[in-house]
Amino acid sequence: MRVNTEKQKLIVIGNGMVGHHFLEQLANHQKSTSFEISIFCAEPRPAYDRVHLSEYFSGLSTEDLAMGKTEQYQQWGFELLLNDRVEEIDRKNKMVSAASGITRSYDQLILATGSYPFVPPIPGHQHERCFVYRTIEDLDAIRSAAVNAKTGVVVGGGLLGLEAANALKTLGLEAHVVEFAPGLMATQLDDGGSTLLRNKIEDLGVQVHTSTATELIEEVDGRLCMQFKGDRKLITDMIVFSAGIRPQDSLAKSSGLQTGERGGIVIDSSCRTSDPDIFAIGECALYENQIFGLVAPGYSMARTAVAQLVGEEENFTGADMSTKLKLLGVQVGSIGDAHGRSDGAAAITFVDEQSGIYKRMITDSTGKQLLGAVMVGDTSEYDSLLQYHLNNIELPEHPEQLILPAAEGATPTLGAAALPATATVCSCHNVSKGQIVDVIAGGCHSLAEVKEVTKASTGCGGCTALLKDIVDDELAALGMEVNNHLCAHFPFSRQELFHIIQVEEIKTFAGLLERHGNGHGCEVCKPTVASILASLWNEHILEQSHVGLQDTNDTFMANMQKNGSYSVVPRIPGGEITPEKLIVIGEVAKRYNLYTKITGGQRIDLFGARLEQLPEIWSELIDAGFETGHAYGKSLRTVKSCVGSTWCRFGVQDSVSMALLVENRYKGLRSPHKIKMAVSGCTRECAEAQSKDVGVIATEKGWNLFVCGNGGMRPRHADLFATDLDSETLIRYIDRFLMFYVRTADKLQRTSVWLENLDGGLDYLREVIIDDKLDICVELEAQMKRVVNTYQCEWKTAVNDPEKLKRFRQFVNSDQSDEKIIFVKERGQPRPATVEEIVETAESA
């Protein structure tokens, strides 16, 4: 037997989402080191998220969409050849050659060439204002053409076509959809669903022309004229073709690999083509005469190919093509045999024309198995119906209950416990219920941990609610109390306590404890209740009834450092400061021998103040016009900003003024955890707003609002919440968002984790904040107004109140300082002495 120590040469052609997933899976496999990998990519940039491509128009950058990062590939030791199209595969000599002239030999080859948009051969389709919708370059071209356009037409009324129509609408165009077939989304929807979708889309201002065949496109007076069959015409400024995709199989064809009659590289269940050393995965592959134009089956093929390469047993045996998505704001879902074409299929239909909801389920002849379903307008039952379908779970006695509007408590829901261990919960990352159960048994006891470890529901997020049910159910089954009580002293969650305190207008901890708690309280409930009281009634935190509740930082309105001294952070709104004020900070620091450091939030932190020095230091700062920076509180910290259009040649809005407005509005707001914000003056995003709880980024038309990001231990990119807002709407949304967070978050829960645990996620948050689904926005705004109107600089109040100042004595019976606090110098500034240094000092004394 020959021992082969040489590495296997592997070439991957194509770097789309599936190609990238393949590489990621391989890189994370322990056998990845036995391969030498080269990747050819015809596009100028590595893989990006095409599923969310349309969001490129609503504010996401190419950076946001990026999946494959060049540095990542370098780290993995892969060779990535960008902007280079492979032109020939020499199967005899096992070589590929690319347009640039580069050649590489291979032992195994992966074709992940994807697909290309089909453009019907209508005369005139090559006109420079005709586009397709596939790559970032396509979108760039559409965006520049839209600048001088009024009207845009999308040819194709399928899933992607409607996405494209939405994009045109976002760009401010009057949008039309032209579809050859009699209905929209003909593949996924039946007639009833399709009709309802059409009505809804037309209500949104998109004009739909079905059963319409385009015969000619010609330029007339500088505009485009579309000539339809039957002598109808439509004048437009640009056309986007989105009439389906075709597998990119030309390279396979020219190298003699077997392809399908209507295109597609033929593969078997191991994802091998007719040449056993060549695999094909993703949209270019044809399995059992079917092309899989969704990302989940493509990922599944990628995993199969990796398994085959490293000698593991895994096969691709087709995939479920069910989908759930939101098109132009309309929820649409399609499961299995949506058209009811199976033998003996029977349908149950529910139509609510008033609310615009259409639901139809297809069962087998016995009514026990779910074969398919269509949902338009409301997809809330999608998850459970999909599980019934995929796992052949027997339907309940009255299956119609599953799609009927819930009568009070009557809906039979599919409990997480009923799912078999093999049930796929997250199809994006192929996570089964069994895997989730295992990680919970292995010690992950929160939704966030389970998400982090399994990656479940981090793809499209469609399974979030189901995942939460499974986690809750499993924790309960393990005998763990799923208990959100604040602590032993209050049998309520923070949210419930907030409600109680608000409704009963409770003003003190003692009052709350007497009515709703037990015992004496602890370091968990006291600061939490203090924070709720402050959010609601905004009394000074050092009032007699509140002072014993505060964490030390709030009590002394400064941040305790390791040796018991404090740091002081004056507010510098938006990071803007006059030279005079800078000098004052310097003078104060010098006078009190404080260590100074610039913070990440564009302020200056003064360290090493002794407790008894705090009032004097603050008197001086207040005299110079400073206010407290709340660096010690669970409250608004800073609003970071760039200089914006005032100075910067790229800036499109005055980001500093906006940052000042925002910071001065929300300063002093006490919240479940600290809140950080930023405002950037253009999409270059120098203020790093997308890493903040609230991020604002200027656009040509106004402001984009991002929410729920954070840095720190578990960084999270903020989500784009709303686009092109005027200043007034922006502030209104932030008011509502913050108050909703303050009301409903758990103790010490940052906005990021809060959102991850929020049922319905970002969509739900938008419904609450933008659509006012819960009918609470007036109240949220009023509550915020109250906080804004009752703002006081806590330090200013304190330095003018001798009773409050009494608290700032090191010793109540002596003027001495704490001798145990000792500083030494380093780099010209003081720092706390180490234990060894303290011992030395004591000995020499």
């Binding site: 032993a488 002293h489 015992g519 004496h520 309280g521 602890c522 370091e523 968990v524 006291k526 600061p527 007699q544 002072v547 014993g548 509740l549 505060q550 964490d551 030390t552 930082n553 009590t555 002394f556 305790m560 390791k562 040796n563 018991g564 009494k806 608290r807 004595r809 090191q810 010793f811 109540v812 019976n813 002596s814 001495q816 704490d818 145990k820 606090i821 234990v835």
Partner: protein, 148 residues
Amino acid sequence: MSLAALQQSNTNSIAITHPQWLPICQRSDLVNNSGVCALWGDTSVYPTEMFSRANKIIEQRSIALFFLPDQEQQLYAVDNWDPIAQAGVIARGIIAEMEGELTVASPLYKHHFRLSDGVCMEDSNIRLATYPLALYEDKVYIGCNKIQ
């Protein structure tokens, strides 16, 4: 002031058990349901004669005084020095009930020390010294065995 009066007042049951009581601060220096820090053994505060018989055997100590006006025992005193955090910060902790016991949660690393005997709830090998306190009229007194 009259020590006899203090001992008989029974303001605090511990009072009678200690032969020597020294004033440490004013009642108004205390903060309800919270802590303050006092220096004990500071000769600038107490007249020297108070310490003459003890020959200054008492070194200066920072002591954390807690005042719980609604409890049966209203006053507690423990060392202010947190031996885990290596800083004098105990008086600035939150009074926390833990497993039915009254404790103070140290502000730096949140260890709990039982107010009654100073034992650390997370590690019973660690213990803060405790001191008897008594309230009489407008003053707080600390009980001392060493000064007879």
